[in-house]
């Protein structure tokens, strides 16, 4: 057990949309240098949970702690300014922009002075290409290429490299491997491991047991909005996790499993 408080901690979080209760009394810790895998069937509430972590939703009740201190996020910008980065399934949303330009959207490096300040394309491209190459994606070497021309895995990697470059402490990945082939997915998993090695806390959602087991240190299974199981690497077999992820387990069945 580490002595430093978790980067993010949820205590008894409930979330309802009007009359619909989606999350029930969720308590979870997200540690630096660890990958937390969120597992669960479709509609279990995984996306809702990470949107609450990323400031998109406000919890209906319960506490969010950052570095051990209670806090609240006023919106996604507030959360991202405080180091919580979310990478969506298709990694980056500007397919028609160049790698260098999209990497720096909103924080463009400039040169020159006054009204003649210019976007420093060369520097933007250099930094962006170097950031992705440092993650082992050496195939990206031209910052002028359009993001849309990259493969799905490369786009994910670019988005993750970008988040890390801008000082993210928590990286939230919502099904980053869902649309990818075997090789591409392996690629993204390597990047996830690299982010973890650099000390980021990673929250990773997936429907694939193999992917979860390849990178996860800590697993939480959501069933109908509640945490049905919470365990560390090696505490459950692959078959047990598969059963849990199928979500077909009744609570009684789960009890039986864990005893």
């Amino acid at each position: 057990m580490s002595t430093t408080p978790p980067v993010l901690e949820l205590r008894n979080i409930d979330k309802s949309f009007g009359p619909i209760d989606v999350l029930h009394s969720i308590s979870l810790k997200v540690q630096a240098g660890e990958v937390l895998c969120l597992l669960g069937d479709n509609g279990a509430g995984k996306s809702t949970l990470i949107k609450t972590l990323a400031g998109v939703h406000q919890p209906t009740s319960g506490q969010i702690l950052m570095d051990g201190e209670e806090t609240r996020f006023t919106g996604p910008r507030d959360a991202s300014a405080r180091g919580i980065a979310t990478v969506h399934q298709f990694g980056g949303t500007f397919p028609l922009m160049s790698i260098g330009r999209s990497f720096f959207v909103g924080v463009e490096p400039t040169k020159g002075w006054g009204p003649f300040k210019r976007f420093d394309r060369k520097r933007a491209n250099e930094i962006a290409v170097k950031a992705v190459q440092d993650f082992g994606i050496t195939r990206i070497d031209d910052g002028d290429r359009l993001v849309g021309g990259l493969s799905g895995g490369e786009r994910q990697s670019l988005a993750i490299a970008r988040a890390v470059h801008f000082g993210a402490r928590v990286l939230i990945l919502d099904e980053p491997t869902a649309a990818l082939g075997v090789k591409q997915a392996a690629h993204v998993l390597r990047i996830v491991n690299e982010a973890k090695r650099r000390g980021l806390a990673v929250v990773f959602i997936t429907h694939q047991v193999m992917h979860a087991m390849a990178v996860g240190d800590h697993f939480a299974v959501l069933i109908r909005g509640a945490i049905a199981a919470d365990f560390r690497k090696g505490e459950r077999s692959r078959e047990e996790i598969t059963d849990l992820m199928a979500g077909g387990e009744t609570m009684a069945g789960l009890e039986a499993l864990s005893h």
């Binding site: 922009m97 959207v105 021309g149």
Partner: protein
Amino acid sequence: MSRFLRRPEAGAILSLLAVLALFTLGGADLGNLLGAASWVNFAANLGIVAIPVGLLMIAGEMDISIGAMIPAGSMAVAVISGHYGLSIWLGMAGALGIGVALGLVNGILTVRTSVPSLIITLGTLVAMQGLILTGAKVLTGTASVELQSPDWARQVFGQLIGGSHQVIILWWIGLAAVFWFLLHQSRFGNWIYAMGGDKVSARNAGIPVQGLTIGLFVLSATSASFVGMCQAILFNSAQVSGGMGYIFNAIVAVVVGGVLLTGGFGSVLGIVFGTLTFAVVAQGIYFTQIDRNWSNLINGAMLLVAVAMNEAFRKRAMAPLRRK
């Protein structure tokens, strides 16, 4: 070559070459055609409006109220400095001011409501036409207002260089350079592309989406009223009508110039070439044996081809590099 084809202006440059080739086959003398003033004048008036309209389209918005802003700019300067005989400075301020005002209305309505800007500017287009007609009737009692501008104003905004080329051509070149800097060199350009790509993500990245949208609408409306103002100074009079053709023409020029209708992609150079191409088709046809009624057909067909080509260029630009 493949790098060139990935650029947004590639289609427009190829279209221009194709049209010049077609017209040469149709009996035009290329030297005569290129030396003529008619199509360059036409291009300059259109081009000043087309660039900011194109920027708006890259940002994912549309402005058709420019059709009313051209007569609005003409009438404003003619009524203030012609009919009432006030200083030309006041007239010019009125013409540009009305552009800023309508741009603000368009922009604020667009960011405050969820109504598409095409519909909003359709509303302000019709409303502004009504305002010009009533204003002209109530204030001057006629639909055509005379204007005598001082020499310096004519020289700057309305002289014919060499007796044939409108001075607005120089304004077009200058403004194109400014817009080029804005879109391709400054960080605002990056924001415009990002807005056209995905507004929500752009906002989350810290881009002042609302302010920039309003600013772009102000630019397009003011550029249109500027063109109207220059026309009134050149022709010594202003009419309540006219300008509606600019809506169609500007959109064709912008799309032929490689701007995606869905936003997020395009270039100033492309829009300039799109405008040149459109102008050559519309005016250059007189230099050929081809019946001039064909020019609309050519421009319409060119629009459709351009839309299809833009889609293809976009796909090409997005195609992953082939692995060795």
